[in-house]
Amino acid sequence: MDGVCFGYRVRGPVQLRYLRTGPGDSELAVCERDGPDPSPAGAPVASWPAAQRGGLAGRLHRDGQRFHLWVDGGGWFDVEPCRPRITVPAATDALRREERLWGVPALLCFSARGDLPLHAAAVEVDGGAVLLAGPSRAGKTSLAAAFVRAGRRLLTEDLSCCRMAPEPELVPGPAMLRLRPDAYGGVPPDGMVVVGRDDERVHLALADSDRAGCPVPIRGLAVLRSSRDTPAAVPLAAPTALPELWALTFVLPDPASRAQRLEQLLALVDAVPVWDLHVPRGLHRLPAAVTTLTGVLG
């Protein structure tokens, strides 16, 4: 295994399909559990409700500097952000296990490194990263796929790692895209290959040529809105944008984490333009949304 993700040079014996190329700037150890599962005491510090339409339910426990994440149907992930190291459960399904690895476990590590985790996909447009932010089922992945079909590079599918100093940068995430079967269309976008299928998703991986893992300057941020009308990108002022982006920011439930995330979010909104992106319903209308957003980027 040799590659990077979220800026980490990943090392360890676990075979991973979605790594990118590049030097990375720090190391992340990923290893497989060879002992008993953890049995954390006390209430979780965060939990996710029962799965809805393919979402994952889980809970996060904190044990000093260490976290234990339970994912329903996925097992226990142990996360030690300060080392950093992630211990994954023994594989029954290596692809899904990796996809879970690059969610909460990875964000706990890069949050501790000082980067801002935002619930957003990101694509590269003319050398800059454009973030597509929204809650689950807002259409981030389908719109990101439409950008890829328009010849743009996918930087991350669902979780954006934003580095704030000196200028905002997007640190690319896993080279994966998970599309609902009805959003897939039967043919993978150019430069992507199908690596798995199930009832909920078609799992795609980026071709090696599009896997550069170096940080990309952030050019803008679009907050997705479902619309019945034609696509539109409307500038969003900070007082309106911030509460929505705050809700899309992963924040550990402790005062220091909240204070740091607020400063980072303010810096991000101060540095890059934010738009409300009205995206019409219907896959066939996504290319128009791509054109609209690309147009306002200039």
Partner: protein
């Protein structure tokens, strides 16, 4: 709310003024993570609360500095302070 009720900020709340278009400010409660926006007037009142003040002092400040103060200003101010208190953003004494 009594005129002599003393209002002071909850020290567990972070305040940040927004730059750029729109102005206003942000309050985040560090213990709950709750986010609250403030408009320009709310921001000025929050800045006034850098030190504890009575409701009467806040009213007097508004009357002195704001032209065309509406008749409802006192009630509006009381409602604003009550709302801040309900959100645990300020503490009230007396």
């Amino acid at each position: 709310m009594k005129a002599g009720t003393r209002v002071r900020r909850n020290p567990r709340v972070v305040f940040r003024e927004l730059s750029g278009d729109g102005g206003g400010a942000v309050l985040v409660h560090l213990d709950t993570g709750a986010y609250h926006g403030l408009n320009a007037v709310g921001m000025v009142l929050w800045e006034l609360l850098a030190e504890a003040r009575t409701v009467a002092e806040l009213e007097a400040w508004l009357a002195e500095r704001v032209t065309d103060v509406p008749d409802t200003a006192g009630a509006d101010l009381a409602a604003f302070v009550a709302d801040l208190h309900a959100r645990d953003l300020v503490r009230l004494d007396g």
